[in-house]
């Protein structure tokens, strides 16, 4: 090849393994739901076994065709999306995607969403017999359609009920992905914990809006959309830190990560693992770079393992601190 293909050094001897509840990850880097397809789309770029894991596109009980065209808009250091949860449905995933993934050597976390508690439970039951699916991530936080489960994510009692119901129907590790579009995210995190969730992943996208000033129309057909990308990172780091203080279950940090330095912020803030989202779009190899960067950091800092970094943020006594 005359072109310079991007290369990545091996992670070497650095121990990047982490635990998220009962799940052992070889490294703390996962790909976020909605940015990694069903994993298959990335197999042309690298072996998925390099990753700590990945979260599938959100799976509903029935296939969904998604929102009308006009689904994305780039914004400063980010993008808005209103995809409308287009997906092949849980049965389509089991029939058409899972066999192709085979033994991909990494944890497949099925992101699932339902219109009702019963739908969440049914989807969990359908996935239960498949050991290739390492865990479930409940999406109760898609901001773009009312049936996207957001009503479960905006009422702590509903959050508790849906998590408890799914908990009762699966033995797989159960993560819950929270919306940042609430006044106090810790209330929801605690509801998940009390209902038996194994981990809390946060954050999903922030609701935003962009306007075509010439046409005086919204840029997205859905009018509003979810903001993701580097623009939201500081907001997400703060929420992850706040949540990690409030619950005992592990937190999985998500929000604008595109570099190992970003991932380190989340780990220090208290996340046990992280997910990379929007950066997968503009750099499909970003996860590998982040993993290599974490290994470099461990070596430079002479850390016996990246897990020793989790939640090690040092805040001086008397230093201003939110509650």
């Amino acid at each position: 090849m005359s072109s310079k293909t991007e290369k990545h050094p091996e992670t070497g001897t650095a121990d990047l393994s982490v635990e998220v509840g009962s799940l052992q990850l070889k490294n703390p880097v996962l790909a976020a739901s909605g940015t990694f397809g069903y994993g298959l789309e990335f197999q042309q770029f690298f072996d998925l076994d390099r990753l700590g894991g990945f979260c599938t596109k959100g799976l509903s009980l029935q296939p969904m065709k998604g929102a009308a065209p006009g689904r994305i808009q780039e914004t400063p250091a980010g993008m808005l999306n209103a995809i409308g949860l287009e997906n092949v449905g849980v049965d389509g995933f089991i029939r058409d995607k899972l066999p192709l993934l085979g033994d991909c050597g990494t944890h497949v976390i099925a992101n699932v969403l339902g219109k009702s508690i019963q739908e969440f439970v049914t989807i969990a039951e359908r996935l239960e017999p498949y050991p290739e699916v390492s865990g479930l991530e409940l999406n109760i936080s898609c901001p773009n359609i009312s049936e996207g489960g957001i009503h479960f994510g905006h009422d702590p009692e509903m959050t508790f009920q849906v998590v408890q119901a799914v908990r009762g129907s699966t033995r797989k590790p159960l993560w819950v992905k929270l919306s940042p579009n609430v006044t106090d995210i810790t209330v929801f995190a605690r509801a998940c914990e009390e209902a038996g969730a194994d981990a809390i992943s946060l954050v999903n996208t922030f609701v935003g809006m962009s306007i075509d000033v010439h046409k005086r129309r919204p840029m997205l057909s859905n009018v509003t959309g979810g903001l993701s990308g580097p623009a939201i990172r500081p907001l997400a780091v703060r929420l992850v830190h706040q949540t990690a203080q409030a619950v005992r279950v592990p937190v999985v940090g998500i929000g604008g990560i595109s570099h190992s330095r970003d991932a380190l912020e989340f780990l220090i803030a208290g996340a046990s693992a992280i997910q990379i989202g929007t950066a997968n779009f503009y750099d499909p190899l970003v996860s590998l770079k982040v993993i290599d960067g974490l290994a470099d950091y461990c070596r430079q800092q002479k850390l016996p393992g990246i897990r020793h970094l989790i939640g090690t943020l040092q805040i001086r006594e008397g230093q201003f601190f939110y509650t």
Partner: protein, 279 residues
């Protein structure tokens, strides 16, 4: 199979009308690109957070060979917003971050006795040179109708003239070729074509593609359009570039960018067409 490469710019040429041609060293992409496919491209930046954040979808205009082997792809682009403005500033020695080839290209029947009519408007010409070259290599009968605002905007015209094919040009100011729109040029040929054996391949501004699609539908002429849609990833994971066909929502990146005009629903696809602009 798509390749992720940091491709050195070998040559950059500017043309009137804010059009730029970049020749970049990307042998893997060059060796595997079919007519009508595209790449996602950005000027390589050192930051982990590029600005603008997303790559831009660009048609592969031409493929250059070295010692008989495909070695470089040519990208012909028009400066529209920040992403294309940056790309247009690329100089030899700079690198482009490329992902490609992507999408499904044009479909054509290789049998003889067929007539192929390529209709291009403005920078839409960037999507159709490889097709014209391929068809001419197969010894097929190819016509090009190429319209632009004025004669100096007819970028790449000589690349088609070299192929020894029938070329009609139209300009809105009448400075070269027929005075009028590309559809006026098409009308000139229209009575002479045989709907049963002709295929139209169209790339250009949406109103022009819609007008040509309508004409094709009236006479039941097979017609393929190549659409330009806002994209975040280009390879089917963001699901952002949806358009509407009579079958369902389809992704411009993995199902397109070439669609059967007869099944394409313009009104409902409109919102995806807005050109990606600087945030």
């Amino acid at each position: 199979m798509s390749w992720i490469v940091q491709a050195p710019v070998a040559r950059a040429e500017s043309f009137p009308g804010r059009n730029v041609l970049l020749s970049v060293e990307a042998s893997d992409i060059a060796a595997s690109t079919r007519p009508g496919q595209f790449v996602m491209a950005a000027l390589q930046q050192h930051s982990s957070i590029p600005s603008p954040l997303l790559k831009r979808a660009l048609a592969v205009y031409a493929i250059e060979t070295e010692e008989g082997a495909p070695s470089r792809i040519n990208l012909l682009l028009k400066v529209i917003g920040e992403g294309t403005r940056q790309l247009a500033q690329a100089r030899p020695g700079d690198h482009l971050a490329l992902l490609g080839p992507l999408g499904n290209g044009f479909q054509w029947e290789a049998s003889g006795g067929k007539s192929h009519l390529i209709v291009a408007g403005g920078i839409g010409i960037a999507s159709v040179l490889l097709l014209a070259q391929q068809l001419r290599n197969e010894g097929q009968d190819v016509h090009l109708i190429y319209g632009a605002r004025s004669g100096r905007d007819l970028v790449g015209l000589e690349d088609f003239q070299k192929l020894d094919m029938d070329v009609i040009t139209t300009t809105e100011d009448g400075s070269q070729g027929m005075h009028g729109l590309v559809t006026d040029g098409l009308q000139q040929l229209w009575s002479r074509i045989d709907p049963g054996t002709t295929t139209l391949y169209v790339c250009g501004p949406n109103p022009m593609m819609q007008a040509v699609s309508r004409l094709a539908a009236e006479r039941s002429v097979s017609c393929q359009i190549s659409v330009e849609v806002k994209m975040a990833c280009g390879f089917g994971v963001c699901l952002g570039c949806s358009v509407k066909t009579r079958d369902s929502y389809r992704l411009a990146c993995t199902h397109g960018p070439v669609f059967d005009a007869g099944r394409f629903v313009w009104e409902e696809s409109q919102a995806s067409f807005e050109t990606v602009r600087a945030p």
